[in-house]
């Protein structure tokens, strides 16, 4: 890495300011505007529209294996989804998925 100390600080501070501006955008300046019903309906789907797409490449091409598809991780992921959908409980899904992942890693050695 070829960055001077001041360049590193510049990156840290710019990234901090930029990220805050993104987060504050609607909560701050535009927050008091009444959004039309169609916009609100769209926004209801934000979490299910963003997170699955964010996670899918991590499952298919995990960083821990250098991007190689890994059966243990895929099975762990599906167990987490199944438990989450069935029990509607995040903690159950995390533990179930995590235990499955470790069991699979152990079994597939």
């Amino acid at each position: 890495m070829n960055f001077t100390d001041s360049e590193i600080w510049f990156i840290i501070i710019s990234l901090g300011i930029g990220t805050f501006v993104i987060r504050f955008s609607f909560l701050g300046a535009f927050g008091q505007i009444n959004l039309p019903p169609y916009a609100l309906r769209l926004l209801r789907y934000t979490p299910v529209a963003v997170m699955p797409g964010m996670v899918a490449p991590l499952i298919l091409w995990p960083a821990g294996t250098g991007g190689e598809t890994d059966a243990a991780r895929i099975v762990g992921a599906f167990v987490a989804i199944a438990l989450g959908v069935y029990f509607k409980n995040t903690l159950a899904a995390i533990f179930g998925g995590g235990i499955t992942l470790y069991l699979m890693l152990f079994l597939l050695g």
Partner: protein, 236 residues
């Protein structure tokens, strides 16, 4: 001078936020380790983690810096990863209307994937809550994860030693985010939006700086909203 009872929503939020320490712990520790190995000193590691507080974007910045990308590209790539937070911000705003500006600024500072996911779920569910209740809930929900995120980044940077890859800690965030989303898949429209997001994100994974994910998310939102609209209309 809050007249509503602050404590119950705060502790309810605290309990609801507790599971996310399992995401913050490995993610924070990994960031501390990777950033130290990349050449950050501990003061820089902690400054980034406290000022930026966005794991995925921080890892993106590090990866670009290790490739010696120009500073503009480092910033553009990491901020693109964070663009989803504009959608989060817009989605929470209607629930926090009327809160003081500094309180909304504090909410914005703490707006990460898990606080958003937990917050929006409960705000939709608890229609009886006042804005003050929502603020207390959000604060309680953020605290455990944030404390773990800061302290384990510090431990990772301090010890700087690698955790054996056999522990598969890289995969902890994936499991945690799936576990947040899965309970939200409660209607055809939600399932369709999630599937659209997955298929497009994978198909567009070749696009630079997470731009494929942004497209996937926008299309998935349109799909979900359109299905909901069609399901509601015949009922009228």
């Amino acid at each position: 001078m809050s007249t509503s009872t602050p404590r119950p929503p705060f502790w309810y939020g605290f309990r609801t936020g507790l599971p996310f320490v399992f995401a913050a712990l490995p993610f924070g520790m990994l960031f501390g380790i990777v950033a130290t190995e990349a050449g950050f000193d501990i003061f820089q590691v902690m400054s980034m983690t406290i000022i930026v507080i966005a794991g995925a974007a921080q890892f993106t910045a590090l990866a670009q810096m290790q490739d010696n990308a120009p500073i503009v590209i480092v910033l553009a790539a990491s901020l693109a990863v964070n663009m989803r937070m504009a959608m989060y911000s817009a989605s929470l705003a209607p629930y926090l209307k009327g809160a003081a500006l500094w309180k909304r600024a504090a909410i914005a500072y703490g707006l990460v994937d898990f606080t958003y996911a937990v917050g929006i779920t409960k705000f939709e569910e608890r229609t009886d809550w006042t804005v003050a209740d929502r603020l207390w809930f959000y604060l309680g929900c953020a605290i455990p994860g944030f404390i773990f995120w800061y302290s384990f980044t510090f431990l990772g940077a301090w010890f700087g030693q690698s955790i054996p890859p056999a522990f598969a800690l890289d995969f902890a965030p994936a499991i945690v985010f799936l576990s947040i989303v899965a309970p939200m898949l409660k209607s055809t429209a939600h399932v369709a939006a999630a599937l659209t997001s997955v298929v497009l994100a994978i198909a567009l994974a070749f696009m630079p700086f997470s731009s494929g994910l942004m497209i996937a998310a926008v299309v998935a939102m349109l799909v979900g909203a359109e299905i909901e609209r069609r399901q509601l209309e015949p009922a009228k």
